[in-house]
Amino acid sequence: MATENPFTLARASDFTDKQINSLWTELGTPEIINTIIEPKSRVSKFILGGKGTGKTHLLRYYSYPVIRLRSPNESGISILKRQKFLAVFLRATGVDATRFEASSGISINWQQLFGVYLELRLAEGVLEALCDIKLTSTASEFNDDLFLNEIKSTLFGTGLDECRTIHEFRNWVILQRRNIDEAVNNAAFSGNLELRAPFSIGSLCLPISKAMHKWHPQLAEIPLLYLIDEIENFSLHQQQVVNSLIRYGESLATFRVTGRRYAIKTLKTLADGEENREGAEFKTTFLDDILLSEDIKFQDFAKRFVIKRLQSANIALKPNSSTTTGQVFNPALCFEDIPNSNFYAEVIEKLKSPSPERSFVHSFVSALYNATSDKPGAQQSAEQIAELLTQDFPLIIQKLNVLLFMKKCKKGAQPLALAESIQADARSYINPETRSKNYYSNAYGHYASDLFAQICKEAPSGRGVLYAGFENFVKMASGNPRNLLIILGKAYDIATFRGVDFVSGQKLSLELQTEAASDSARFMYESDTNFGQDSDIALAAISRLASILRTARFSINIPEVSPLAFSFSDDDLTARAKKVLQNALNYSLVFEMTDGRPDRNSQKLNRKIQLNPLLSPKWSLPISRRGDISLNKELLSAVFDAQGSEDFDILLKRLEQKWNTISKAAVDDTPQGALF
C-alpha cells in the first residue's frame, strides 16, 4: 500500500472543510489576505491566478460551512454577528455547465436556462447555511413567514404555496433544480425540452438577500457573498449571466469569482448588453503578482508551510539548528547545498572532470584557428593562447578565462596580449590576498553558475547540471505553494524509494535533489498542463524557446548571463504567435517581466518574458534570470508560430554557430595606424 506523502498535492478542493481550517497557513500578514477577498466590500471581485496559487483555499476559508467548522459550538447567529458577512461557495465545475450549451436540434434559450440553474444552485447554498443557522440558534426568533413572503413574490411554480418553512422552501428549490437536470437529460433523447422556468434571471439569488434581512433582526445588515470558483469553466455566454448578476446585484449580493489568468471571456452582460467596467462594477486582483511581490516573504512562508505539512503528517521534527529562541527545526538544513567554495573544487573532483580531451579547450582552439587561419602559425598561436588561459588554473577559472577572451576579442585587440592580461588578472583573482573588486571578480560572480553548469554537463559520469538547496527549490516555486509541494513531494518519493530519511536522518544528497527537480520539470511539462490542444501547442513552442536558451548557456561565448529570459518587440509578433505566447503565459509556462512601457526612443513595446524556473531542469537552464536573449521577428515566428517550425532548426544552428565562433574581423590585429 502506498503511504502518504506529507507533500501530497491534495488540492484545496480535496480538503474536507475540516482540513482547510487546520492546514491554513497565513500567506503573509492577515491584512494581505483580507485585501484579496475583501469580504466586507460591496464591490464584486475577480481573483485570478495560476494553478496552485491558493485561490480555492482562500474562497473556501471564507465560506460559511468552513467558518462554521472553526467554531463548532457557537450558534449560527453568533457566528454571523462576528463575521459580519455570509458567504456561499460554489465550484463552477460542479455545475457541469457544458450541458447548457446550444446543442443539436433543441432550440431554446440555453443562456436563460443556465442562468436559472445557476441561481438555484446559489440559492441552495444560501438556504443550507440559513437552515444551519436556524438549527443552531434555538434561542433566537426567526420569521419564516416574512422570509417566504419576500422571496415568493418574484417566483412562480407548483408547490411554492405549500412551502411554509424555510426547510420546505429549500426542498422546493432543490426540486426545481432536479427538474431542470431531468429535462435537459431527456431533451438529448427526445429532441424536445419541456420546462417552465420558475423565475427570470435575477429573481432568486439576489432578492434572497432581502428576504434574509427580514428573517432575523440581527441579519438585517449582513451582506451576502457568492464565492464562485474556477469561472473559466463557464462559456462566454454563461459568463454574461454572471456579469449581469454582478451588475444588478450591487446592494443585494456581491460576488468573489476566481479563475485562471485567462478565465474572463467577456465583460458583457446578458444578451450582449453593456459591459461591466474594472473599478466600477468589479475589481480584479492577480494572485501570482501578489505572491511574487516583496510583501510576501515567500522563503519564510515556505519554511512554515513545510513544517506545517510535516506536522500534519505526524512526522516528528528533530531540532537541527540553534536560534536565539532555542533549538528549532529548520527544513532548509535537510537539503545539501552545492559547495561552491574553492571554485567548486569538491563537486568537480567527484565528477572526475575534466575529461581527458577537455573538449571545450579543443573547441576554443578550433574557433580561434578558424578565425586566424590565413595567418602563418595560426595553429600554434591558438594553442599558445589556449595554454595561457588555461594552464594551472582551476577548471572553472579556465572556462572563465576563455569566455572573457571571446568577449574581449574585438577588432583592435591583440589576441596574445589579451590572453596574457587575462592570465594575469586570473592569477591575481585566485589568490585571496591579491583579489580585488574589478571586472574579473564581477565576471566570476556573474558567470560562475553557468560555467559550473557547463562543467557538470560535460562530465562523462554524473547526472548533468545540479539542482539543489532548499532556497533554490523555493526560488523555483516562484511564490506558488503548489509548485513547492511538487518539488518536495518528488524529493520525498525519491528519498523513500532509496531508503533515505532526510527529515530526521542524513541530508538529501545533491544527486537525489537533482532527480527531484528533473522529475518536477517533467511533471509540469508532461502531465500537469492538460488543457487540450491550446496547451499542446504552447508546450511545443516553449520547448523551442528553451532550446535557444540552452544553446546560449552552453556555448563558449555565453551571450547573456544566466539566460532564462528573452526580450522582443511586441510589433514583431504575428497574430498567431501572439496567441500562442498568451497561452503560454496563461498556463504559467512563462512569466512576463516588464510593465509594458514603450521604448523611449523607438516607441515600440518591448516585452520581457521568462521561463517558469520549475521547467528549467528539463533543459539544464538556470533558475534565476539575469540577462535576456533578444529575439528578432524571424526567431519569434519560428518559436511561436507553429507553421514556421521547420525554419527553427536552421535558425537555432545559426545561433549556435554565432555563439561558438570568433569572427575573423575580431582577430584582425593588423595595426590601425598610429594611435598615439
Binding site: 502506498a2 518519493d493 532509496r498 531508503g499
Partner: protein
C-alpha cells in the same frame, strides 16, 4: 545519463505497476552482481538495469485479480450463461443459482504437481478470493482410487466420489508443458476410460503457446485447456520478434545482452543459462519466479555469490 533515466523508469515501475513489492535495495544488490567479468562493469550494469525495465512482474494484487478472473470470467460466468440458455434465456436468479450450485458442487479443483508446488499453493488463494468451499478442492491422491488392470499392465484410475462430473486442473504457469504432461497423462487416460462423460479441464494463469498446444492434445485435455495469458514466441527475450527488445534505444546491442545473459547464466545454472528448456521468459510473480526465466534474475548464492532480483524457490 541513460542509467539515470532507467533508474527513474524503474522507480515508476516499482511504485505504479509493481505495488512496491520489489525494493531498490534489492535491485541495487542485484546490479552489483555484474562485476565486469565479461564487459566493462558500468556497461554490464547498464544492460542489466535495462533488462529490468523491460521485465514483467505481477504483484500480489495482480495475482489475486488473475485468480478472481479465472474463476469469474472463465468458469462461473460461462457456466451460468450456458444454464440460462438451457432454461430458454430465463433471468430468474433462483433457477440459475440452483442449477449452478449443483454444477459447482460436482466439480473438483485440483492443483497440478504435488501439494507443495506453486500450482497448488495458488489454489489456496484461488479459493479465498472466490469465496469457495474447501470441499471443492482435492489433491489427486485423495480424489482417485485405482485398480490394477486385468492383465496387470497398467493402473486404472477412477474417481472416488461418484457424483463428481467435472475436474478442473490448475497450475500457475505452463512452460513447455512436458512436466504437466508427464505428470497427468497416466491419471487422465485412466479416468477418461472409466468415466467417459466426465468433463476434464485445465486452467492456468500463463502458458506458452507450445505448452498450451501440448496440453490440448487429445490424450490430455483435448482442447479444454485454457490460460488467461498466452505467451507466444514474442515473449521469448531473444526471439527475432521479441517484444522485450524490439524497440530499444540506440546504444542497445541485442547480442551483448544475449552474451551477458548466457555468460553469467552458465555460472549459475550451467545447463540452462536462459531458463529451463531455453525458456527465455522475463516474468515473475510475487509468490515465485518460474524456472523458464534466465537464472541471472533469480539465482541465489551457490557456486558463486549472487543476489537475486526476483525471488524463486528453486527445486534442487
Amino acid at each position: 545519463m541513460e542509467k539515470i533515466l532507467l533508474e527513474s523508469k524503474i522507480r515508476t515501475l516499482i511504485n505504479h505497476a509493481w505495488d512496491s513489492e520489489v525494493t531498490w535495495a534489492e535491485i541495487e544488490a542485484w546490479l552489483n552482481n555484474f562485476d565486469g567479468s565479461f564487459l566493462e562493469k558500468s556497461e554490464e550494469q547498464l544492460y542489466a538495469i535495462f533488462a529490468i525495465s523491460r521485465y514483467m512482474y505481477f504483484g500480489k494484487r495482480l495475482v489475486r485479480e488473475m485468480l478472481k478472473s479465472l474463476y469469474r470470467d472463465h468458469f462461473y460466468s460461462p457456466m451460468r450463461q450456458r444454464i440460462r440458455r438451457n432454461f430458454n434465456g430465463t433471468l430468474d436468479h433462483r433457477i440459475i443459482d440452483n442449477a449452478y450450485t449443483l454444477e459447482l458442487n460436482s466439480t473438483r479443483f485440483i492443483g497440478v504437481g504435488n501439494p507443495s508446488e506453486s500450482g497448488a499453493h495458488l489454489l489456496y488463494y484461488f479459493r479465498q478470493v472466490n469465496y469457495l468451499s474447501k470441499d471443492l478442492f482435492v489433491d489427486l491422491a485423495a480424489a482417485l482410487t485405482y485398480q490394477v488392470s486385468r492383465d496387470r499392465s497398467e493402473i486404472l484410475y477412477d474417481i472416488r466420489e461418484k457424483k463428481i462430473t467435472r475436474l478442473v486442473f490448475f497450475d500457475d504457469i505452463v512452460g513447455s508443458g512436458t512436466q504437466a504432461s508427464e505428470y497427468l497423462t497416466p491419471y487422465l487416460s485412466g479416468i477418461k476410460a472409466t468415466n467417459p462423460s466426465i468433463d476434464i479441464r485445465f486452467m492456468s494463469l500463463f502458458a506458452t503457446s507450445a505448452g498450451l498446444s501440448k496440453l490440448n492434445e487429445s490424450k490430455l485435455f483435448d482442447g479444454k485447456a485454457m490460460c488467461l495469458f498466452e505467451l507466444d514466441d514474442s515473449f521469448k527475450a531473444f526471439d527475432a520478434d521479441s517484444r522485450y527488445f524490439s524497440t530499444s534505444p540506440p546504444w542497445f546491442d541485442r547480442q551483448k545482452m544475449f552474451d551477458l545473459t548466457e555468460d553469467y547464466g552458465k555460472k549459475l545454472w550451467p545447463n540452462h543459462p536462459f531458463g529451463y528448456k531455453n525458456g527465455q521468459l522475463l516474468i515473475s510473480f510475487s509468490h515465485n519466479t518460474p524456472d523458464n526465466v534466465p537464472p541471472i534474475f533469480w539465482a541465489v548464492s551457490g557456486q558463486i555469490p549472487w543476489a537475486p532480483a526476483f525471488v524463486r524457490y528453486h527445486k534442487q
